[in-house]
């Protein structure tokens, strides 16, 4: 007879981590499919934004012309004075606040508090939309001042090119996020994720789970995080 060795004791420490990862069925225990997918997608997306930022730094160094002074270009004339970066500061503040409301939404979701989850999701979407609105305002202002992807009055032409490309790509991410938040908010409000529902969940097709709120949240926090890097590298440098 073949000897069968049944082991049930799980090793601890690093060995345990490896054993868990390599064990059967799931490498990440308790992680729903949708959440795993979102994490991996975001990892891939990180490479996209990193490529954008590295390219921006490279052309900033390769161009022989002077780089425009960000704090002057992005200043707003308010109350009789030029306040540098004021709009960006407000935008950043709004986006970070929206991360907070998003976190609350996730929390309420897990407590199955349908009303509060919806409210927080909608609030996050509104904050996100106002961010995009301010970005549109900023774009309009710069375009009026003659900034174009192929040239601008302040200095190196790559300034306009990278600005529109990177903020545009990020803005598109935020807009998609807003759309997604609204869709999820509607589904939450309708009770799609309650235990007694007949509808099947979004993405996961499992009933009675608020996972999708957390997955949307992951995306949202990621978009915020990316903004911090854009803010640091593009506006502050």
């Amino acid at each position: 007879m073949t000897e069968v060795n049944v082991t049930d004791d799980r090793p601890s420490g690093m060995q345990g981590v490896i054993a868990d990862w390599a064990s059967d069925q799931r490498a990440f225990k308790g992680v729903p499919w949708g959440k795993a997918m979102m994490w991996i997608f975001l990892l891939s997306d990180t490479f996209i934004f990193s490529s954008f930022l590295v390219s921006y730094m490279t052309v900033r160094m390769s161009t022989p012309e002077a780089w425009p002074n960000a704090s002057e270009v992005f200043a707003l004339h308010m109350f009789g004075a030029n306040i540098p970066l004021i709009l960006i500061a407000i935008m950043t503040f709004i986006l970070i606040t929206s991360s907070g409301t998003m976190a609350l939404a996730v929390n309420f979701g897990y407590r199955k508090n349908r009303k509060m989850t919806t409210l927080m999701l909608v609030l996050t979407a509104i904050l996100g939309a106002s961010f995009v609105g301010m970005q549109a305002f900023e774009w309009t202002k710069l375009i009026h001042e003659g900034v174009r992807p192929w040239g601008n009055p302040f200095g190196a032409e790559q300034f306009g090119a990278t600005f529109f490309m990177i903020t545009g790509f990020h803005g598109a991410h935020v807009s998609i996020g807003v759309l997604f938040l609204l869709i999820v908010a509607r589904k939450v409000w309708r009770g799609d994720y309650e235990d007694d529902t007949e509808r099947r969940g979004y993405f996961t097709s499992h009933k009675g789970s608020y996972n999708i709120v957390e997955e949307t949240g992951l995306y949202w926090h990621f978009v915020d995080l990316v903004w911090v890097f854009i803010f640091a590298f593009f506006y502050l440098w």
């Binding site: 059967d24 069925q25 490498a27 997918m37 996209i48 052309v59």
Partner: protein, 593 residues
């Protein structure tokens, strides 16, 4: 001793999947066209890849005709020659091999081999195929726009790629190419997320990571590479499109063209090369790793011998995958970058040869004292090892800066990468098709035609590419429409070129025999046994062959061992499938009982 899995842990998927959680097709359209079943998607992917691959093949004939008998074909102008080169390269690397290995084999084999019912996100998986098809159509469309497709070389280096001197450079050609690539990447990402999550999170009970067939390890690692490498290409495609359409200068320095100062200035052409090869080198492993994995399984099954050093094989795949992200600039030794970079990248390049060599040793040792059946898949697998070693060794030449500088941009490089990423993976593709065709159709491919196909392809490939190494040594450059009176190249090079062209046309013909074989065998092939190769992995243990909707019967299989239990001493059959309970293994009765 057989090890069995620990008790069920929490949060794992149940062995029995409720009917409601499976995707059900209700009409012809959702069953065969907009289908969410990964097996159908796999066939759609493969079919599309093969069709566009045929276009790539025809383009290669046209190039060979021009090189073999120059000044004969009036329809092959210098411009169209460059367009053929470009489209051939791009089609073969991306739209054929990447799509076939990951979209085709990935979709078909992953869910079956890990014991899942389907991919985790069937709908996204379906979208993946349709976006891929869209990308292919855009690519094909570029043949029909004014000015034709781009002729910038598959590397698409700016500034030339978007200047008027390059075919398709100022027209729609280059733009359609870039847009098509962007769509390909979006489509691929949708599929790729599916492959990775299915492998990580949807395996059946007992299927630990270290029991997965190496095929799955290869596809898995390749997909991870693709998810991290394609972004660089995506971003460069966007920036080059902007350079071309809006007149930005990401990649464009100040340029005087035909005495006229262009409005570009200040961009960095080298940036493109870095981004491109940050994608491009992992890309060669995106194609190679699935081939590595599949060939390991073919060798093991057809030699009735467990794979030698399974763990080492897994770690080698992972190590190659990781290292492939730090070698990219070995494609840029002649780009004028800082020599210290060359030093660094030469070192990493040579290091990557170590895990690669480990794999080759292990394949050879798998055959050692095996019960080798020279079936067609086995022939292709052995041919792969030989060819891959060949290409790997020329890779070591090219990895060294001083050796590479004179060889760069010659036919030697063409020979290198065709051996290593053209012929070698294609041989595996063929072997894999002969191996899994019975699973997909329930019929065998014709053996005589198969053997003809193998020998002509294998020997022919050597007749084509071996002389190219020599041509490279004597200095024949790549991507040249004609040598004319280049006095440092001996006249005999032209004779050799003519010879290669004849070989290429014959090999091309053999591929038509292969396609014919497939088409005929689907309908008229000899019905196959249930598990004709006596393989152990789960794809052969499905309820029906070909596997039906949902793959397995009501219960998912439970896995008790790795996929390489061949020639197990003391058992009646010479193999034990992964899902046979240790108590059910048929043992030879001890004598005298």
């Amino acid at each position: 001793m057989v090890d069995i899995t620990p008790e069920k842990v929490e949060n794992v998927s149940p062995a029995e999947v409720p009917e409601a959680d499976l995707y059900h097709a209700h009409s012809f359209w959702t069953k065969y066209v907009f289908c969410q079943d990964a097996k159908v998607i796999a066939i759609q992917y493969s079919g599309t890849a093969v069709v566009i691959g045929m276009v790539g093949l025809v383009l290669s004939w046209l190039m060979r005709l021009q090189l073999g008998v120059p000044e004969t074909f009036s329809f092959i102008s210098p411009e169209s020659y460059l367009q053929f080169v470009t489209m051939h390269g791009m089609i073969m690397v991306i739209y054929l091999l990447t799509a076939l290995f990951l979209g085709g084999f990935g979709n078909y084999l992953i869910q079956l081999m890990v014991g899942a019912r389907d991919m985790v996100f069937p709908y996204v998986n379906m979208l993946s195929y349709w976006i891929y098809l869209l990308a292919v159509l855009i690519l094909v469309a570029s043949f029909f726009v004014p000015g034709g497709p781009t002729g910038a070389g598959w590397t698409l280096y700016p500034p030339q790629a978007i200047l008027s001197g390059t075919p398709g450079g100022t027209g729609l050609g280059i733009i359609l190419m870039l847009v098509s690539l962007a769509f390909f990447i979006i489509g691929f990402t949708m599929g790729g997320l599916n492959y990775v999550v299915t492998i990580l999170q949807a395996r059946t009970r007992g299927m630990t990571l270290m029991r997965m067939p190496l095929t799955i390890w290869g596809i898995f690692t390749a997909t991870v590479l693709a998810l991290l490498a394609f972004p660089a290409l995506f971003v460069s495609a966007i920036m080059m499109t902007l350079d071309s359409v809006l007149g930005t200068s990401f990649f464009m320095p100040a340029i005087v063209e035909f005495g006229e100062q262009l409005s570009y200035g200040g961009g960095s052409p080298i940036l493109f090369q870095h981004l491109f090869w940050f994608f491009g080198h992992p890309e060669v492993y995106i194609v190679a790793l699935p081939a590595f994995g599949i060939v390991s399984d073919l060798l093991s099954v057809h030699a009735r011998r467990h794979i030698f050093g399974y763990r080492m094989m897994v770690w080698a795949i992972v190590a190659i995958g990781a290292l492939s992200f730090v070698v990219w600039a070995h494609h840029m030794y002649v780009s004028g970058m800082n020599p210290w970079f060359g030093f660094f990248f030469a070192t990493t390049t040579l290091i990557i040869a170590v895990p690669t060599a480990i794999k080759v040793y292990n394949w050879t040792l798998t055959l050692w004292r095996g019960d080798i059946h020279l079936t067609i898949p086995m022939l292709f697998a052995i041919a792969f090892i030989i060819t891959f070693v060949n290409g790997g060794i020329t890779g070591l030449f090219l990895g060294n800066v001083i050796v590479d500088v004179p060889l760069s941009d010659t036919m030697f490089v063409v020979a290198h990468f065709h051996m290593v990423m053209g012929i070698a993976p294609i041989l595996v593709v063929f072997g894999a098709i002969y191996h899994w065709f019975p699973l997909m159709t329930g019929r065998m491919l014709n053996d005589a035609m198969g053997r003809f196909h193998f020998w002509v392809t294998f020997i022919g490939a050597y007749l084509i590419y071996f002389p190219m190494h020599y041509l490279g040594f004597v200095g024949v450059p790549r991507r040249y429409w004609s040598m004319e009176d280049t006095n440092f190249i001996p006249d005999s090079a032209a004779d050799l070129n003519a010879f290669i062209t004849v070989a290429a046309l014959i090999v091309g013909f053999a591929q038509l025999v292969f396609i014919y074989n497939i088409l005929v065998s689907i309908f008229k092939g000899k019905p196959s046994e249930r598990n004709p190769w006596k393989a152990t992995s789960l794809e052969w243990q499905t309820e029906t062959v070909p596997p039906g909707h949902g793959n397995f019967s009501k219960e998912l299989p439970v896995v008790y061992r790795w996929a390489y239990s061949f020639s197990v001493p003391g058992t009646v059959d010479d193999y034990v499938p992964q899902n046979v309970h240790p108590n059910d293994v048929k043992l030879v009765e001890p004598e005298g009982s």
